[in-house]
């Protein structure tokens, strides 16, 4: 699998971020980090908008930047959704989108599809100044998608959009780019977006370091900040058993148990991801088989680490997968939880993630 290899000493004033990463060029890579940790700076360096002396950027087999060469932005073939001020104010919505497509080889039908996807049909003749904040973001997304880039960079593209739109749009975005084979680097603060979209994760932290890895592993890694967030979460892989067309329910096989979630039809055997918030996982010492609606799994405690003054996070091993639980310190003490102990995890709520 081809990768995007980065070795970038990013410097801006006092800000320093050393990036030495190899990012898989497949699917979605989320870029996650607190405000001011350098997400925008990273995207800009990859696109070639900033040039950091001594940096290396290698996209698949193309050397975009090394000590001798620097490929100009417009020759890299990236698509970019900026964090703000995306649109050309002198062009209408339609002309904004056409600006990109007229320089790329996209078909009218595909562009129309993207416009429909972003619900822009009624806005095409408007000027950017006649749009709401969210509408402007949608136009920028459509424009970047429509040029069929070799690599898509999106900097908090959905920050101004409502939940209902996001839930509708994200799966379609994921489907579209996987169909077109466009790798996506996606900056977001929203954990639910990241969990829903991402295959890989680039994590920036305030110390100026960058890490990259598989999202499933990184989410539960106690060394990283992700497992220390309030919405700490785990992603588990499940397999589709069957689909109940009457009740629109998917029956999933998850680590030996059957759970059902509502969703669109999927073929039996399809592998899906489910998202489990740490706070939706509780721990019992014995399996309580009398509560039929709960999903109870035998697990092993791998590690216990503090979250707040009142709560701890427990890293569990569930048939080889990692699962996080967030419980009060009091419960931990009452139950006497220890590393390597075998206990049961009650999963209160499961959401299909893709």
């Amino acid at each position: 699998m081809s990768t995007l290899n980065l070795n970038l000493p990013i410097r801006k004033g006092n800000f320093a971020l050393n990036v030495d990463l190899s990012i898989p060029l497949q699917g979605v890579t989320a870029v996650f980090g607190a405000s001011g940790t350098g997400k925008t700076s990273l995207l800009r360096a990859i696109a070639g908008l900033d040039r950091h002396v001594g940096g290396l950027v290698n996209f698949a087999d193309q050397m975009w930047q090394d000590h001798h060469n620097f490929t100009a932005v417009h020759k890299r073939g990236v698509g970019y959704v900026f964090q703000e001020d995306n649109l050309f104010t002198h062009l209408s919505v339609e002309e904004n989108i056409q600006y990109g497509t007229s320089r790329a080889s996209n078909t009218k039908a595909a562009v129309d599809h993207i416009i429909t996807l972003l619900q822009l049909q009624n806005l095409l003749t408007r000027r950017p100044s006649q749009l709401s904040g969210g509408e402007r973001q949608k136009v920028a997304i459509a424009r970047a998608l429509a040029i069929l880039p070799k690599l898509l960079l999106m900097d908090e593209p959905l920050a101004a959009l409502d939940q209902t739109f996001k839930q509708d749009f994200l799966p379609q975005l994921k489907a579209l780019i996987s169909e077109l084979g466009i790798p996506l680097l996606y900056v977001s603060h929203a954990a639910d977006e990241v969990a829903q979209l991402a295959d890989n994760l680039v994590l920036l932290d305030k110390s100026g370091a960058a890490k990259c890895g598989n999202i499933i592993e990184m989410l539960t890694n106690p060394e990283l900040t992700l497992a220390h967030r309030q919405e700490a979460e785990s992603l588990l892989t499940a397999t589709v058993n069957s689909y109940d067309a009457h009740y629109h329910l998917l029956s999933l096989q998850l680590c030996g148990q059957t759970i059902s979630v509502s969703g669109k039809p999927l073929a039996p055997g399809t592998s899906v991801r489910v998202r489990i918030l740490a706070q939706d996982v509780s721990i019992t010492l014995a399996a309580q088989h009398d509560t039929s609606i709960l999903n109870i799994f035998p697990v092993t405690i791998e590690q216990i680490f503090p979250y707040s003054a009142a709560q701890d996070t427990i890293l569990l091993n569930l048939a080889g997968s990692q699962l996080l639980a967030r419980i009060t310190r009091k419960s931990k003490d009452l139950l006497g939880l220890k590393t390597d102990q075998k206990v049961f995890a009650q999963i209160k709520s499961v959401a299909l993630s893709q």
């Binding site: 908008l49 100009a72 001020d85 002198h90 320089r103 790329a104």
Partner: protein
């Protein structure tokens, strides 16, 4: 009424103003662009140089240009070693003089406008695969529209009314270098006030409608882009 000579002068004037403005835009645009973007430490020197012709009285500037372009001047002798003709008393000479004289009126407003556009639209265009020239043509030019209008207007109008340099450098040859401003001036000097008023009125009305069209169009464009 306007004489044949006056009409010839009017035509020549328009020609001169159009040529000069065109050349000013062609020269001034890249210059202003470069000045607006460069981080060069000494660019203020160049900016100052460009503004200098403004400071000299036009006839005096004309006199120095006459010296420079004459067969003994360094431009003139250089032209002659290249086998060219001397430039004084030619339309080309007038154009050169006017260009030098009006350059700051074009470069300065353009430079300001370019500066105000900022980097973002260009960055966006680059990510949409537009190369340098493409970006300039499709983004900078339209966004700098009002700057271009100002620059062209100032350049054009200034050349229309341009006088001292032309007088000195042109030699007042009818059909070749006798422009309207000199003709009007001539009428005033020779007490032919009626002729002078007529010709001034013609010039004013002409320019009035031309400027009116341009500003009217700009107004409409601005409303459209609100």
């Amino acid at each position: 009424m306007l004489t044949q000579a006056d009409l010839t002068a009017l035509l020549l004037t328009l020609q001169l103003a159009l040529c000069t403005t065109a050349i000013l835009l062609v020269l001034g645009t890249p210059l202003a662009w470069w000045l607006a973007r460069t981080q060069w430490r000494f660019k203020f020197l160049l900016e100052t140089l460009i503004a200098m012709p403004l400071v000299l009285p036009p006839t005096v500037l004309g006199f120095y240009l006459l010296l420079a372009l004459g067969p003994r001047g360094f431009v003139g002798s250089f032209m002659q070693t290249l086998g060219g003709e001397p430039l004084a008393f030619t339309f080309t000479g007038l154009v050169i003089g006017s260009v030098i004289y009006s350059l700051p009126f074009v470069v300065q407003p353009l430079q300001d406008t370019f500066h105000n556009i900022g980097k973002r639209p260009l960055e966006v265009a680059a990510t949409l695969r537009a190369g340098g020239l493409d970006r300039f043509l499709t983004i900078v030019l339209p966004l700098a529209k009002s700057g271009f209008i100002t620059a062209s207007m100032l350049g054009f109008a200034h050349t229309l009314g341009e006088f001292g340099v032309v007088l000195m450098l042109g030699g007042n040859i009818p059909g070749e270098t006798q422009v309207l401003s000199i003709a009007i001036y001539g009428h005033v000097e020779s007490l032919e006030y009626v002729q002078a008023h007529l010709l001034s009125a013609a010039l004013l009305i002409l320019s009035f409608f031309m400027l009116l069209t341009v500003y009217g169009l700009r107004g409409r464009m601005r409303v459209a882009s609100m």
